[in-house]
Amino acid sequence: MDEVSFLPTFPLFAANMMLVGAVLLCGLAAGHVFARYLRLPRITGFVAAGLVLGPGMLNLLDRSTLAELSIFVDFSLGLILFELGRRLDLRWLTRDGRLLASGVAESLLSFLFVYWTLRFFDVAPMYAATAAAIAVATSPAVLLMIVHDQRAKGPLTERMLTLTGLNNVIAFLVITLLFGFVHLEYKANWVRALLHPLYLIAGSAALGYLAFVVARWLARWFGKREDIQFIMLLGLIVATVGLAISYKFSVLLALLAFGVFAKNLDRNHDLMAVEFGPGGQLFLVVLFVITGAGLQLPELAVAGGLGLAFVFARLAGKLAGLAIFAPLSGLTQRKSALLGVGMVPMSAIAVVMVQGASQLYPEFGAKLSSIVLSAVVILELVGPLATQWALRLAGEIDPTAQERP
């Protein structure tokens, strides 16, 4: 029947385009239901949508589809890390040693507490250390999304974002260095163990610097037009993500470095503080749905106890680290506790980094996943709530933000 060959054949071919649209709409709808009827953070709705659509439940988003969407994940993470890097004010950190000290303390204590907890559960040192390094990083995606969604504004919000930038840098560096030990663990020679982390750190930083130099040069040429600078930065972020992938650098480190250089080396202030706004939100929604799809509830049943212990050890480390330096940095103990609670969301980005290692040593990845994934499930669902709650109690969320016409 050649006459009707223009008709589609069944089953319908699910074009990628349609898929992204569907993911976006499902995520938005679930977010709306969560925010409006359950009074929970929108993000939790996005993650829940992914969880339901993902391989664990309905399997509408199966593993191969998720793999096809990975370019969105890379780009979204790049965007977030660039934005996070731009919030990391090194002058503030060097001027106020107390802030730097509290950031280092909360990172160190959350690492140690989680490490000891996992060792108590008889997890091997190598895995315990990598999992503990993952625990250090707070999720910039969740923080930025909530700050934007709730129009949070204020000193605690600023402090939370700066400390998050700092603990992400620390976590990335530690995980990258641990790669060396992973190589050794799998009997690779020490040259490889040394060169790989070095290549990742130096290469990513150099790429980030290059992106910054180009951005500054273009910004001078284009002038102070926010719309043009916005598109220029998006273009550079896409290009940097692509280059990092082809050179096998760390996408995350490179984009974080780009942001940090843009904030701290732009002495003439050629680059404008661009709000990624609704455009950036779009990528975040897709990112959270995909993150949710990657979660698996059965993990909770198997390793729920370990996951809970992980979560509490991590929270205790953050709270203790911040509490020690709170009085010195002009924070009340209440605000310091809110700061710690606000930093509960765990960065799925760290998990992505570990996947880099899994590609080299699948066995390592599989073992590590089984340790951290139950904690990731808990924190992805509870984390946004904690942040929103902390910012609201700190009085930095505009209560009328949701009711605006």
Binding site: W92, D96, K153, P155, G330, T332, D398
Partner: protein, 380 residues
């Protein structure tokens, strides 16, 4: 029941200054709700002067002690500025002068949690949030209530001087308003703004106040938002039309100008209070807000029009012996210099915007200027 306002006697011709300042984010240079944290931090360490909250959480008010000498005033203002900047830096906040933040949105401002401010918000609605503008108030000491009434009436003629010299709010809500001082337009909306009624002495003023209180229009003197008002508990008159200047130096200069002018008016008694001054008042005030140093001026006594600049220059001449007696010659010379250049702080802001091309850069440079790290004239 009648309530008489007691006028406290204070040393004549002393002065005090209050400045409302912006609290800024160093990320995007928008206003930042930092007053609570900043005040809590500042309360822990000793600092000169007094630091208080203002109606919304991105504002803070500093006020000096009582001074006779303009240079001592400047020393205290500089010390207070440095103390506030020190506190702000620990919170990664920045501070700046200027009468209005160039691009803040009034709807994003939050009322500072204090009973009086909540009451004002309830009473005035969005006007309270639009009141996120930043002024300088100058207090001049007087011996008696009668002196206060006389001086307030006489000072009214000179209000356009203070507006044009201090103007620093050309941008508002992201736009150039074409005004040199857009801030005063925000104040006009309040029902009790404007000028003191034409009463002859303190007794008559008390009669007026008592009527307004009995009719439940006001409860206290604080409810009047007049451009100049007597402040019986301090024993002063308070000039409230100045925008907060971009530097403490300018703030001290304006204080010195008010002090010398008050000395001239009280000692020389050049004229008698006249209702005519109030007949041309709103128009003169508007012209000064709109055109700043380029404004015209209607002289109610001479019954003629002239340039505001000419009127200031003539006034400066009359103030020479008084500045000499008060030791504020240098301050008045500064005013002379700004007449020559025709520049006020609004001019600086517009010039800076022309070069930087972005309002957030303007605010960043404004905050460096306030901190004393930036030249007060932009490069040509």
């Amino acid at each position: 029941m009648t309530m008489t306002l007691e006028f406290s006697r204070s040393e004549a011709l002393t002065m005090g200054i209050e400045l409302e300042l912006m609290i800024l984010s160093t990320h995007d240079w928008d206003l930042m709700r930092g007053a609570g944290d900043l005040l809590a931090l500042m309360a822990k360490s000793p600092h000169p002067g007094d630091i208080k909250p203002e109606i919304t959480e991105s504002m803070i008010e500093i006020s000096t002690a009582v001074h006779r000498d303009y240079r001592e005033m400047l020393v205290e203002l500089s010390a207070m500025r440095d103390a506030v900047i020190g506190g702000a830096q620990r919170l990664n906040l920045a501070i700046a002068g200027g009468g209005a933040h160039p691009f803040q949105h009034w709807s994003e401002q939050r009322i500072f949690p204090k009973e009086r401010f909540f009451h004002l918000h309830e009473m005035y609605g969005y006007l309270a949030k639009q009141f996120t503008v930043f002024g300088q108030h100058i207090h001049i000491g007087v011996h008696s209530g009668d002196d206060a009434i006389y001086l307030a009436h006489m000072m009214s003629r000179y209000i356009p001087h203070f507006i044009a010299l201090s103007a620093s709010s050309p941008f508002s809500q992201g736009m150039d308003t074409d005004f040199d001082s857009s801030r005063l337009n925000n104040i006009n909306a309040f029902p009790l703004s404007g000028t003191m009624p034409f009463v002859r002495d303190w007794d008559e003023f008390n009669g007026y106040f008592d009527t307004m209180r009995t009719l439940q229009v006001v409860e206290t003197m604080k409810d009047f938002y007049w451009d100049i008002r007597p402040k019986p508990e301090f024993g002063t008159i308070e000039i409230r039309v100045c925008d907060t200047p971009l530097t403490v130096e300018k703030a001290a200069v304006l204080g010195a100008y008010a002090q010398a002018l008050a000395r001239h008016l009280m000692l020389d008694r050049p004229r008698e209070p006249s209702q005519d001054v109030y007949r041309v008042y709103s128009f003169n005030r508007f012209t000064a807000c709109r055109y700043g140093m380029q404004a015209g001026f209607i002289d109610a006594y001479a019954r003629g029009r002239r340039l505001l600049k000419e009127d200031i220059a003539e006034t400066l001449d009359a103030l020479v012996p008084h500045a000499l007696a008060l030791g504020s010659g240098a301050a008045l010379a500064e005013i002379g210099a700004s007449l020559d250049s025709g520049q006020n702080d609004s001019g600086w802001l517009r010039e800076t915007f022309k070069q930087a091309k972005s309002l957030s850069d303007v605010v960043r440079l404004q905050s460096r200027l306030w901190a004393g790290e930036q030249r007060s004239r932009p490069d040509r």
